[in-house]
């Protein structure tokens, strides 16, 4: 019995940091409507800076002072970030905000390694809380007891701050209607900045307080952000009480899940999250969001099918691509195959994002499931390559069917967070279930059969499948189903009124996108000859998002162009610099701020401007812009 109580108390202690970070995220979202992906990065920075400060200054004052000062320093960094970056994108679509803050996260990961080095750092024990308390023969670290008390204290302070101060009243008012608060003469800029500072302070404090318990390392940002997303999805985004209750719930599930399913404890959290979402889609303490306001600047250009000239050009491009083996070496062909595979992957995400309006932050899950599907079939069942290629993606299809069912119940940032959490869960399973997936060592020796083994043959195979998939998805975009999907995205109210079951349509789209991603993953497994958990990882999901964004999210062919440019750039960059994340992160931020329409979108704008300029002379000519 004592053992279970100790386990319970350990869970409560873990909940404290989680609550601090989650409440910060919630407060920032409530007022600015930005889901701050970089919150995990601020948490990590808090831990690193606190490590340095507590290491430098000795004594109790050095420790506790170091922790608070670290949080204050990071809050100041947060203010700079808010003023320099976020102020430019408050009116951008949610997806762009998520991506920009993700770009920041990538940059911070490299910066942290640059400053503090790649190895784990062990922090000082807290003065006065070094020992352990004996509890019926079990030891509880006294620092844990301190954290257990801290959670409710911070909750109380936040409550007082929001209920009893003028600032708190303004924040609550802005959470309900920020435009009205602005109309009443409140300086919105500084309100946003101060809210962001408080949120970041909480995240950094959460990180700093972890150093006596856990080692500080450069991957702690992604780990906490996934937990935090799960917490706010369960508790309800924007609710501080919800963040507290859900943080306790998730931490306890983790603490006891280890006892029940030691290998895949994260499944328990997933099951609870799924149950909450079915009963209360906006979380335990969340409120249903009003219909999203239409983003200003969103294109109104209807899509049109290709003209015969454009069709000819596309065919010519494909023929030129198919001629690549005639004049290039094996290395170029391998890269060509990889690019073709990523064209499929990007096109599948584009279908979900641009046509369905569902920005998935965990699309790699289905790519990776397709890859693992092939590995299982080829290695364990010993099936021939053709059969594995056909059946492997079905694992991606299955995953998309299960997760998609829950994900499409939500929309916007909730959808993004949930898909990210799902992908991370699949990743954890692949990583932890060593007996089946090989864990970190992956599954090796998934080589193509003789007929496809040479680089040129494999290149032609990949290119052919890529062409097939892109054309197939294009047909679906213009099919009645594609229009129903767009209708659901454009106006849920109207599509329901004309008899469309939006959730079913979106679920089907999710399954289609997941299956196509699975096809890409299946080819990828054969290209690399192996499968690792990385094929399910967050960075791959974000690669796909950047490809779509780079090409232009409002265009149909953007995904293809974006995938080619991005992948080529990425391969080149990795060969040139060790700080690829830093460069990539800066690149993402740059696209979001400076080129939100992407490459194809920009080309279209230029062409339309030219066309309308030439049409001006003609009377009655009203340019009707279209996107292809």
């Amino acid at each position: 019995m004592a053992f279970y109580i100790v386990q319970f108390l350990t869970g409560l202690a873990s909940a404290a940091s989680l609550f601090l970070v989650a409440s910060g995220l919630s407060i920032i979202f409530g007022v600015t409507r930005i889901v701050n992906f970089a919150h995990g990065a601020f948490y990590m920075l808090g831990a690193y800076v606190a490590f340095t400060l507590t290491d430098r200054f000795s004594g109790a004052l050095g420790f506790w002072g170091g922790i608070v000062v670290a949080a204050l320093i990071i809050a100041a960094v947060g203010v700079l970030v808010e003023m320099a970056l976020l102020r430019r994108i408050y009116h951008s679509p949610e997806l762009f905000q998520l991506l920009a803050t993700f770009g920041l996260t990538l940059m911070v990961e490299d910066l942290v390694v640059l400053i503090w080095g790649p190895s784990e750092l062990l922090g000082r024990r807290a003065p006065g809380f070094k020992g352990a308390v004996d509890f019926f023969g079990q030891n509880i670290p006294s620092y844990d007891l301190f954290l257990i008390a801290l959670g409710p204290i911070v909750l109380g302070i936040l409550w007082l701050l929001f209920q009893r101060t003028r600032w708190g009243v303004l924040v609550r008012a802005a959470t309900q209607d920020r435009d009205m608060v602005a109309a009443l003469g409140v300086n919105q800029k500084w309100l946003f900045t101060s809210v962001f500072a408080v949120g970041v302070f909480l995240a950094a404090l959460g990180g700093a307080l972890q150093i006596p318990r856990d080692a500080v390392h450069h991957a702690m940002d992604l780990r906490i952000i996934v937990d935090v997303f799960v917490v706010v999805v369960i508790g309800g985004l924007g609710s501080i009480i919800g963040a507290f209750v859900a943080a306790v719930l998730v931490s306890e599930l983790n603490a006891f899940g280890i006892l029940i399913f030691p290998k895949i404890s994260i499944i328990l959290v997933f099951l609870v999250m799924a149950a909450v979402l079915i009963v209360r889609p906006w979380g335990l303490f969340g409120k249903q969001e009003g219909p999203a306001r239409r983003t200003p600047g969103l294109t109104v250009n209807p899509w049109r099918t290709l003209t015969s000239g454009e069709r000819l050009a596309a065919t010519a491009a494909l023929i030129i691509a198919a001629a690549l083996p005639l004049f290039s070496g094996n290395y170029a062909l391998t890269i060509g195959s990889e690019i073709a595979i990523f064209v499929i992957f990007a096109a599948s995400l584009h279908f979900l994002m641009a046509v369905g309006g569902l920005a998935s932050f965990g699309h790699a899950a289905y790519f990776g499931l397709g890859a693992y599907g092939v590995a299982f079939l080829a290695k364990m069942a010993g099936l021939p390559m053709i059969v594995s290629l056909l059946l492997g993606p079905l694992l991606g299809c299955l995953g998309a069917a299960v997760f998609g069912f829950f994900a499409v119940q939500l929309s916007g940032v909730y959808f993004a967070m949930l898909t990210l959490a799902f992908a991370q869960i699949v990743w954890s399973i692949a990583f932890q279930w060593v007996t089946v997936t090989g864990g970190d060592n992956g599954i090796l020796g998934v080589w193509p059969e003789k007929w496809a083994a040479s680089p040129s043959h494999f290149y032609w195979l990949s290119l052919g499948i890529a062409a097939l998939m892109v054309v197939g998805l294009r047909i679906v975009v213009f099919s009645p189903f594609g229009f129903a999907l767009r209708a659901t995205r454009d106006s849920p109210l109207r599509s329901e009124a004309i008899g469309i079951d939006g959730k079913r349509i979106q679920w089907t789209a999710f399954v289609i996108a997941g299956t196509v991603a699975g096809v890409a993953g299946a080819l990828f497994a054969y290209l690399k000859g192996s499968v690792f958990p990385d094929s399910l990882g967050i960075s791959l999901s974000v690669d796909a998002l950047v490809m779509v964004l780079l090409g232009g999210v409002e265009t149909i062919s953007g995904a293809v162009v974006g995938a080619i440019v991005y992948k080529a750039l990425n391969i080149w960059l990795v060969s040139q610099t060790d700080l690829s994340k830093l460069v990539l992160g800066a690149f993402i931020v740059l696209i979001v701020v400076a080129f939100p329409k992407g490459i194809v979108g920009m080309l279209e704008t230029i062409r339309n401007r030219r066309r309308s300029a030439s049409a001006k002379s003609a009377l009655l000519a009203s340019p009707i812009e279209t996107a292809e």
Binding site: N301, G482, F483, I500
Partner: protein
């Protein structure tokens, strides 16, 4: 009159929010080809009543019989499939499609082709889509992006979309809100003409009394959640209670107004 089938019959419809009785025991009937207006001051319960009829809210009690089927608690899409067309107070259309495509999507749904992954939608039922657009006077706008339309044209497009499933009943929530006076009259004349030609029943809420008295066959007056009057425009205009709570005593007002001016 008894030969004309009843499209919609509502019995004892009630809904409250917390302690507020938004709608209390409302009952009425609507026959094919009849144009019925639902009026009342702000907060009378018009919108709640409407939301229950079109499936956006579940009633606490009472029955809604639409074309012989009990529809209380069914989602809007199920009600659409029974043969109900809808327009909204603030137009709801698909801004990233052309005008014709807006109608085509509705036709896709009506023909049960929503999960067709193969055909080309721009070619889908072009003739029928064109006919519907001609009907509402939007034939010349078929290839225009919907996002470019003026508000009055959006209202007409919405009417064409609502007619795509060959409805037997049209539910129109403040159809002329936000329009210029001339456009209002034109839109309602158009609606009334189509309704009479195809003997579609129309239920609409409206604040513009000129529109109501010109086009409605019958008027229901709601106040504080209850029906206080029902009848032809003349009967309602002459009803004392209605004048007291809603229309106001026009003559008295006029007299006072003049007095104020002369002073």
């Amino acid at each position: 009159m008894s030969m004309v089938p009843t499209l919609l019959s509502v019995e004892g419809l009630s809904k409250s929010y917390g302690g507020v009785h938004a709608v209390r025991g409302v009952s009425f009937e609507l026959k094919a080809g009849e144009i019925l207006a639902l009026i009342g001051p702000n907060g009378a319960g018009k919108s709640t009543c409407f939301d229950m009829l079109n499936g956006q809210k579940d009633p606490d009690s009472g029955r809604i019989k639409l074309l012989g089927e009990d529809t209380a608690g069914r989602p809007p899409r199920a009600i659409c499939r029974l043969g109900v067309g809808r327009t909204f107070q603030i137009t709801a259309t698909f801004p990233t499609m052309t005008v014709r495509e807006n109608v085509q999507v509705a036709l896709v749904s009506y023909r049960g082709q929503l999960f067709n992954l193969w055909s080309s939608t721009p070619w889908f039922e072009q003739g029928e889509a064109g006919r519907l657009l001609e009907l509402v006077g939007m034939g010349g706008y078929a290839d225009r992006p919907c996002g470019e339309l003026a508000y009055g044209d959006l209202k007409r497009l919405e009417l064409a979309v609502a007619l795509a499933n060959q409805p037997k009943l049209l539910l129109m929530d403040e159809p002329t809100a936000g329009m210029a006076p001339r456009e209002r009259i034109e839109l309602m004349r158009l609606t009334a003409r189509i309704a009479r030609e195809q003997s579609i029943g129309v239920l609409f809420t409206e604040h513009d009394m000129d529109v109501v008295f010109e086009h409605a066959d019958r008027i229901l007056v709601l106040n504080r959640g209850s029906l206080i009057a029902e009848g032809s425009p003349e009967q309602v205009r002459g009803n004392r209670e209605v004048r007291a709570v809603y229309l106001g005593e026009g003559l008295v007002y006029d007299a006072r107004h003049r007095k104020g001016l002369s002073v």
